[in-house]
């Protein structure tokens, strides 16, 4: 077969050379004119198809399910099940590789990794993909560059300075190594050098550091790979590498940092937050939280774990800020809550602030106002943007007594207004991060009490699940030449529908969990849907969140949820199709459950 067959295109990248040769010998190329049916609905699939050029529509009846483009494979379901649930029709002049069914089935039997692609359940496919990612993780780690790391600062002392000066300097800037300038030479001195000089050599602390410094400094540039540093350290048996950007030394890379980079250092960040004695101490820790996300993702940590770690760090940070800026009446009398994705423990890349305060009894308005302003300003200085909807402690509506909230809820359920629904939604997702957590429990109980039995309210609330159209034709952007537009909004297209649909079902049942996966678990136990569907739904949510996170990490600073299918691998596109299919089924369940069709 075509030498040109792309053996790097999943799932064919899993085939052995002999299996590829089998493939080459048996594959043909089919040409299909516009509107020609390649696989008819309900008809056995005689072959597995891989698009070479053109666009193929996946249809069921008159409904367009998806558009497939070059490198996409279809139809794995039809191949395994013997017949196709969907029809595949050429939208334009299309060429496909045609792999006869017996050959494809033989490959599936002989090669388990190849077979994973043809699993019918999305969750099994995702597990298989996660294993593959794990295999390549060492590779991605090793492609990281020194500039991706946090370095010890480049602080200089003079060779004539004393051991005492050096010791104090290290302590001041919280580092364990300093550059030593001796005329034209530059060396490094470490805390261990100082200790050994004093303890073992019995040098006075007034002795100059020059003689005990090392001037055989090894150095690398910020653009060098991390693995270069690892190799250099191993070769030279040094624990520190000086980083020189071509004009000056900009920092020191220590082995401990390298280890931290490889293993992640969320625990160090947590420790730094706990030890902080002022807002100034928290600022670097807050910055590191953001960096943890990238590190954890690079290490292949699963999205739910990343979100949990990041939420935990953020909550510690908020709690610490609360301790530092809240005056006594608020600290003893109030409960700080975070809401929305932060409350559900599903936040990864930092978004805007969604926080509030619940008070046991009224507090002086001026005191509240000062606290709200200080708290928001501190978070803003750490990179948490103010909430555009003003869901923040500085807004009196989100800084009330339990009774105040209760009164608000009773007003809210009477007005079917989208903003009110969003307020209910984010408060229902709230968790307490500091102060008296019982206040939140009371408030939530009041909320559930206010909505209980209000079926008209629940229906309107649930209706937002359908607020955004499914991005069915999301492969359309293969049609747009410049790759502009038609990117898929994962949040609107999938994540929101899952989160809000689950939230609606959970709230109706009066569940107290805030995390979407936990709510799904409880709904499964309650029999709202099957265990299998619950797993598919959770995995779909995680898959969409992972894709979104990758997109956000790729574009530094972006909080967008846009993903261009053309940027994804054909494997990811295939999974994305499956995930949207699960979302579609779920929307159908919510629709039936609340009888949304009647509204």
């Amino acid at each position: 077969m075509p030498n040109a067959f792309d053996q790097n295109n999943p799932p064919f990248d899993r085939l052995t050379p002999q299996e590829l040769e089998t493939l080459r010998r048996s594959v043909d190329i089919g040409y299909y004119r516009p509107n020609e049916t390649i696989i008819a609905q309900g008809v056995p699939a005689e072959a597995l198809y891989v698009v070479i050029k053109g666009i193929v529509e996946e249809r069921t009846g008159d409904e367009l399910i998806a558009l497939l483009g070059p490198k996409d494979t279809f139809d794995s379901h039809a191949l395994v099940q013997g017949q196709s649930g969907h029809a595949f029709v050429a939208r334009e002049e299309t060429l496909c590789y045609v792999l006869p069914r017996p050959v494809a089935l033989a490959l599936i039997q002989s090669n388990p990794r190849f077979a994973t692609f043809f699993y019918l359940e999305l969750s099994r496919k995702l597990d298989a993909m996660a294993r593959d990612e794990e295999d390549s993780r060492v590779g991605t780690l090793m492609r990281a560059r020194i500039s991706d790391m946090i370095l010890s600062p480049a602080a200089f002392i003079d060779a004539q300075d004393t051991i005492e000066t050096a010791g104090h300097r290290m302590s001041e800037i919280d580092t364990n190594a300093l550059f030593v300038r001796d005329g034209d030479r530059v060396g490094i001195i470490t805390g261990m050098n100082l200790s050994k000089a004093v303890v073992l050599k019995r040098l006075p602390i007034t002795a100059p550091v020059g003689p005990i410094s090392h001037f055989d400094v090894i150095s690398l540039a910020p653009g060098d790979f991390i693995y270069s540093a690892l190799i250099l350290m191993t070769k030279t048996n040094k624990r520190r590498v000086a980083i020189h950007d071509g004009t000056a030394y900009i920092g020191i890379l220590e082995d401990i940092q390298l280890l931290g980079f490889l293993a992640g250092n969320a625990q160090l960040v947590a420790g730094r937050i706990d030890r902080a004695t002022g807002l100034a101490d928290l600022s670097p820790a807050a910055k590191e939280i953001g960096e943890q996300v990238r590190l954890l993702r690079r290490q292949g940590v699963k999205i739910d774990v990343i979100a949990e770690i990041v939420s935990d760090l953020n909550h510690r940070l908020f709690a610490k800020v609360f301790d530092l800026v809240a005056p006594p009446p608020i600290r003893t009398n109030g409960c700080l809550i975070v809401m929305g994705s932060e409350g559900r423990g599903e936040q990864t890349v930092r978004t805007d602030q969604d926080n509030g305060l619940i008070l046991a009894e009224p507090v002086d308005a001026a005191v509240l106002e000062t606290f709200g302003r200080d708290f928001a300003a501190a978070l803003e200085s750490f990179g948490f943007e103010p909430c555009p909807g003003n869901v923040m402690v500085r807004n009196p509506a989100w800084s009330q007594t339990v009774d105040g909230y209760d009164a608000a809820f009773r007003r809210w359920v009477a007005i079917p207004d989208l903003n009110v629904h969003m307020d209910v939604a984010i408060l229902y997702d709230a968790v307490a991060v500091a102060g008296n957590a019982a206040l939140l429990a009371q408030t939530k109980a009041a909320l559930l009490e206010a909505v209980r039995g209000r079926s008209a309210f629940m229906v309107h609330f649930a209706k937002a699940t359908e607020a955004f159209a499914m991005p069915i034709g999301f492969f359309n952007n293969l049609l747009t030449p410049d790759g502009k537009g038609d990117a898929v909004d994962l949040k609107k297209g999938g994540i929101f529908a899952i989160v809000h649909g689950v939230r609606s079902l959970a709230m109706e049942r009066g569940l107290t969990e805030t995390n979407t996966a936990q709510r799904i678990q409880r709904l499964v136990e309650a029999g709202t849907f099957t265990r299998d569907f619950g797993r598919e739904l959770t995995q779909s949510l995680y898959f969409l969140m992972t894709l979104r996170l990758d997109a956000q990490l790729a574009v530094a600073g972006a909080s967008s949820a846009l993903v261009r299918p053309a940027d994804l691998s054909s494997m990811q596109r295939d999974l994305l199709r499956d995930a949207f299919h699960v979302v579609k089924q779920f929307r159908e369940i919510v629709r039936r459950h609340f009888n949304l069709g009647a509204f």
Binding site: N9, V27, Y31, I52
Partner: protein, 223 residues
């Protein structure tokens, strides 16, 4: 120059080896063969074939699973310039068969099917040069020139003075076909086959290729 139709009649009458009479019978209905040769140079008289690749096309199906590929052990040395183009060195072709063995195999593969090619005359003349010495005939097959099909679809109604570009790369681009490694006989034959099935369909449906493309489409690549 004697027209091919006349030559065909002459060769059919005078063929020495009767076992090659099948060449003069029509091939299976709906089948054609796309083929390409890589040669030591562009001079038919002095250069030789190095590789031949051919792919049967049945209806709209390109039968890559039933392909013909042969490497020829050359009688003469390969020119340095030719090596640069097709990247086959002498050591690469040393394992090949003599042209006397390759040509009959090729004839049996193509039979009486029409031949599809890009500037197919050149490849046919290279084959004929060998064939006339071996069997006393030239290829009698009907020839289909893809650049001609392309010309009709794109420039058939062009006003005088239109700049005409029939390059292989332009055809690939206009038809949005994948660009495979070129100057490999199999890949060239395959790309030619893809051009053929699409151009034939466009002719049947009366679809033209716009001369001024509003938007440049990104090339699909599968290489």
């Amino acid at each position: 120059m004697v027209p091919r139709a006349l030559k065909r009649l002459f060769h059919q009458a005078t063929i020495g080896d009767q076992s090659y009479r099948f060449m003069f019978k029509p091939g299976p209905p709906g089948e054609v063969v796309s083929f390409d040769c890589e040669t030591t140079g562009l001079d038919v008289r002095h250069n030789d074939i190095i590789t031949i690749a051919a792919i049967r096309i049945r209806g709209d199906r390109i039968l890559t699973s039933e392909r013909f590929e042969a490497v020829v052990r050359p009688e003469a040395r390969i020119g340095v310039d030719a090596i640069k183009i097709h990247r086959l060195r002498e050591m690469d072709v040393a394992a090949g068969n003599r042209i006397q063995k390759v040509i009959p195999e090729f004839l049996h593969f193509i039979g009486g099917r029409p031949l599809v090619g890009y500037y197919v005359d050149f490849d046919v003349r290279m084959i004929d040069k060998e064939l006339i010495g071996l069997k006393g005939i030239e290829l009698p097959n009907k020839l289909i020139e893809v650049s001609k099909l392309y010309y009709e679809r794109k420039y058939g109604d062009a006003p005088p003075g239109t700049t005409i570009d029939l390059s292989f790369a332009s055809i690939l681009r206009d038809l949005d076909l994948p660009v495979l490694d070129q100057h490999d006989a199999f890949n060239d034959a395959l790309m030619t086959a893809m051009m053929y099935v699409q151009l034939r369909d466009m002719r049947q449906r009366g679809v033209r290729i716009p001369r001024q493309r509003q938007t440049e489409r990104p090339q699909a690549t599968i290489a």
